[in-house]
């Protein structure tokens, strides 16, 4: 799957106003979503470890050779701590050629129990790094998904327990990572197949149409491509 993204930042004073604007544009109310993200570092690259018999080299993205940071994401309901299923998310480095948006390949799938074991403490596949919580308001406009979110850090000592089994976090204890409390604005479109140029054209045009529609109210920009790099350095 391929994603095209644009970002912006909303200060706290404008949060309500931006939510109203988006509700008008999308003709719907926002849906509140609370997600827990766990960050893992890949210790072994899966393909290198798996090819034993010299199977014919499949075409892989260049990134598969290097270790990256992967994420496990699940929805947490803010009120009663009810938790959804874990989803695995691997984001690659954004592609260098595209200037107007951030374009990156992403892989996302639901994990079953067997694969979840790879992420446990002491395994040889992944090492736990950190986690954070995002509290998001989500809007959908045709095929573009807009999220206004705030990243919260978990209280001290949460990482000590096995994060997959840890009891649900109390949201009141988590504090925003950014002390000014400003919100992160993301608009993104997903495309099933990144090589199909018709679909990518359509996706880009939808995203740029949203950008021009919100011009003046929210200015969407393209951040530095390498700041979204997920490769592990120094290994």
């Amino acid at each position: 799957m391929h994603e095209f993204l644009l970002y912006s930042q909303i200060p706290v004073t404008r949060h309500e106003q931006v939510l109203h604007i988006l509700a008008g544009v999308c003709a719907a109310q926002p849906i509140s979503v609370c997600e827990q993200h766990l960050i893992y570092q890949q210790l072994k690259v899966a393909d290198a470890a798996g090819s034993k018999k010299g199977a014919p080299a499949k075409h892989q993205s260049a990134q598969a050779q290097r270790q990256s940071y992967h994420k496990l994401v699940r929805e947490v309901s803010a009120g009663d701590g009810e938790q959804g299923a874990w989803r695995f998310r691997a984001e690659d480095v954004p592609q260098p050629g595209v200037q107007a948006v951030i374009s990156r390949p992403v892989e996302e799938r639901l994990l079953d129990q067997a694969e979840l074991e790879k992420f446990r403490e002491g395994g040889s596949w992944y090492r736990y790094i950190n986690q954070f919580i995002t509290s998001t308001q989500r809007f959908v406009h045709n095929n573009v998904i807009v999220r206004v979110s705030r990243i919260l850090s978990v209280p001290e000592g949460t990482g000590a327990l096995e994060p997959l089994d840890a009891p649900p976090l109390v949201l009141a204890d988590c504090r925003p990572v950014d002390p000014s409390g400003s919100y992160l604005f993301e608009a993104y479109v997903r495309v099933e197949d990144g090589t199909n140029s018709k679909l990518t054209e359509q996706a880009m045009s939808e995203l740029m149409a949203l950008k021009s529609q919100l011009e003046g109210a929210v200015d969407l920009r393209v951040p530095d491509r390498l700041s979204l790099d997920t490769r592990v350095k120094g290994v």
């Binding site: 799957m1 989500r138 959908v140 045709n142 997903r190 099933e192 197949d193 199909n196 679909l199």
Partner: protein
């Protein structure tokens, strides 16, 4: 003793000279006294006399005076060099300005004189002026002073006053007119905003019209409708000449409404209610908006049902002219009325058929249900729109058909199925009562959800979408046999797998049978009742008799030929007869016609003996 005076010390003149030339004298006097214009002989004499008097005064006074004079003189003198320079500069400026004035006056006079006396004039005229203006160009005339014409002056004054008054009056008039206009505008605006606020407070959404500036409009459409309907759902508010607000032309007029009719053949047995429209003149703005919204909603409902009907032709949905007609096919449901949906214009509707008919309630219920289903479909659309969309792929999604007709049809089918089952059971009960067999019967009815337990309108409407289920039970209580019952279970669904009603027949002691046609159910029910009665008879009859349940036959082995060896029961629901027969005798009971007086049991006792 030495007194300081402001005398300049010059050496004595060696030679007596003539009187100093006038120029020097004049210069000296100028220096001493300023301008010499005011000097006359008389004033000089007076001065001399005064000075002399001054000289004869006493020495102290003289000293004092001289001191004061000296003091004053000392004050008048500038104390610093800077002040001296400043004073000098100022004086020079004044002098320069004076010189300029004089020179200009000189030029003027010279120019004037150059016409009459060119010689001396040309001598005094300045070269600058001579270059600019040729000489002799300025002339001069001496006029007599005109006598004062008081009459004319008075007239002029009067004219001036009048003109002034006129113009003042004009400005006053225009100000008044402006004030009037302003008042008018304010009144119009107040009226306009009053009416717009009235609409807005009733809950209608007043908004800007995208194409036109300075015009407000009212939205009464639904945001989840198909695009062609939501575009029509906004009407501009026009301002009349007195500030009153009217809806754009074409809205609120020609309202349409959906009517549901139930028909048996050509005859209408039920009709839903149409909203009444008062005359055009009486409608308030808000009422017209409401009519427009209702009409738009019904039009959209009709449109969606038409779209749906195109896919449902297999179940008996047809378009008859402009009306959607649903007639369930005969083998699926007997005696079901035909349901007709029509979009009628309320203006042209001749308000006939006002007398209430038997199935009016059902028709009205169907109409209300259709509207509720459309609203539910809107809600579903909103939910689907707000979900995270799947990643873009090649698959094209077309507009899904809203399920409005289908739940209604399944309701009608189920109702008719129920009706048939109940009719059949009814016939059977009559027969059994005629035959004296004790029984109880539960007819099939709709199971309604508990209204108090519903959380929202959504859950109420969700009940429509589920399959309809009901049960009927016929229990025959026989004296010598445990009561056995025959249960039939009806399920109506319009999913693609099984369309129509599925009947399940359960009778005691045998397995379930599924049927999809009502006739089969009827026959099976009759067979089950007959076999049940046979079984009861077998136990009633005593030993030796064996029962063949499937054929409702009792057989007994016997030696003699004249005794009965078999007794059987036949049950015919359509003709309504129950018969107990043996080789020699037959007893029959009928629900409609005549029947034996004795009960089944008594008749059987005779036969089995």
């Amino acid at each position: 003793m030495a007194t300081l005076t402001a005398l300049s010390l010059t050496p004595w003149a060696r030679t007596t000279e003539d009187e100093a030339p006038l120029q020097d004298v004049l210069a000296r006097v100028n220096l001493e006294r300023g301008h010499f214009r005011t000097i006359t002989e008389a004033s000089l004499q007076a001065e001399v006399a005064g000075d002399g008097a001054l000289g004869l005064s006493e020495s102290e006074d003289e000293d004092e005076d001289e001191e004061t004079v000296e003091g004053e003189q000392a004050k008048a003198k500038p104390t610093t060099r800077q002040e001296l320079f400043n004073a000098k500069l100022e004086m020079l400026q004044h002098v320069g300005a004076a010189e300029q004035d004089i020179l200009m006056a000189l030029d003027f006079i010279s120019l004037l004189l150059s016409k009459d006396a060119p010689g001396p004039a040309n001598a005094t005229i300045s070269p600058a002026l001579r270059q600019v203006v040729p000489s002799g160009t300025l002339g001069m005339d001496v006029w007599e002073r005109m006598p004062q014409d008081s009459a004319r002056q008075a007239q002029d004054e009067l004219l001036a006053t009048n003109v002034r008054m006129e113009s003042l009056q004009q400005s006053a008039d225009s100000l008044l007119a402006a004030a009037d206009r302003l008042q008018d505008n304010v009144r119009k605006e107040t009226q306009y905003w009053h009416e717009v606020l009235a609409i807005s407070e009733r809950g209608w959404n007043v908004c800007r019209i995208p194409g036109q500036q300075h015009r407000l409009g009212v939205t009464f459409g639904f945001s989840e409708s198909a695009p062609e309907f939501s575009r029509r759902g906004i009407a501009a508010l026009n301002v009349g000449s007195d500030g009153s607000v009217t809806l754009d032309r074409g809205f609120g007029t020609k309202p349409k409404a959906l009517r549901v009719q139930l028909r048996h053949g050509e005859e209408t047995v039920g009709s839903s209610q149409m909203p009444s429209v008062p005359n055009d003149g009486e409608t308030t703005l808000e009422a017209r908006i409401r009519y427009a919204r209702d009409s738009l909603f019904d039009e959209e409902l009709y449109h969606e049902m038409t779209r749906e009907s195109r896919a449902q032709a297999s179940i008996g949905v047809r378009m008859r002219g402009n009306a959607i007609s649903f007639r369930p096919s005969q083998e699926r449901a007997m005696g079901a009325p035909e349901v007709v949906f029509e979009l009628l214009s309320l203006d042209e509707d001749d308000m006939r058929a006002n007398e209430p008919q038997s199935q009016d309630g059902v028709a009205r219920a169907i109409a209300i249900a259709a509207r509720l289903l459309l609203i539910q479909a809107h809600r579903e659309r909103l939910n689907k729109r707000s979900d995270v969309p799947p990643p873009l792929s090649e698959k094209k999604d077309e507009r899904p058909v809203l399920p409005i007709l289908r739940p209604l049809m399944s309701f009608v089918l189920h109702q008719s199925a129920q009706g048939s089952v109940n009719a059949c059971l009814d016939g059977l009960t009559k027969l059994l009562s005629a035959a004296g067999v004790a029984h109880t019967c539960d007819t099939a009815g709709f199971s309604l959800p508990d209204l108090a337990g519903l959380a929202s309108a959504e859950s109420l409407v969700a009940g429509f979408m589920q399959t309809w289920v009901s049960d009927a039970r016929l229990t025959i209580t026989a004296k010598y046999h445990a009561p056995f019952d025959i249960r039939s279970h009806l399920e109506t669904t319009l999913t693609h797998g099984s369309i129509g009603t599925a009947y399940v027949l359960t009778s005691a002691g045998s397995r379930d049978f599924r049927f999809s046609l009502f006739d089969e159910l009827r026959e099976a029910t009759e067979g089950a009742v007959a076999s049940g009665l046979a079984k009861a008879l077998a136990s009633f009859a005593g030993e030796g008799w064996r029962c063949n349940g499937r054929e409702a036959l009792l057989t007994k082995d016997s030696d003699t030929a004249e005794k009965n060896t078999s007794v059987w029961i036949t049950l015919d629901g359509s003709s309504g007869t129950l018969a107990l027969s043996s080789a020699f005798k037959k007893a029959s009971w009928s629900a409609h016609g005549e029947s034996e007086q004795e009960s089944l049991w008594d008749a059987s006792t005779e036969m089995v003996r």
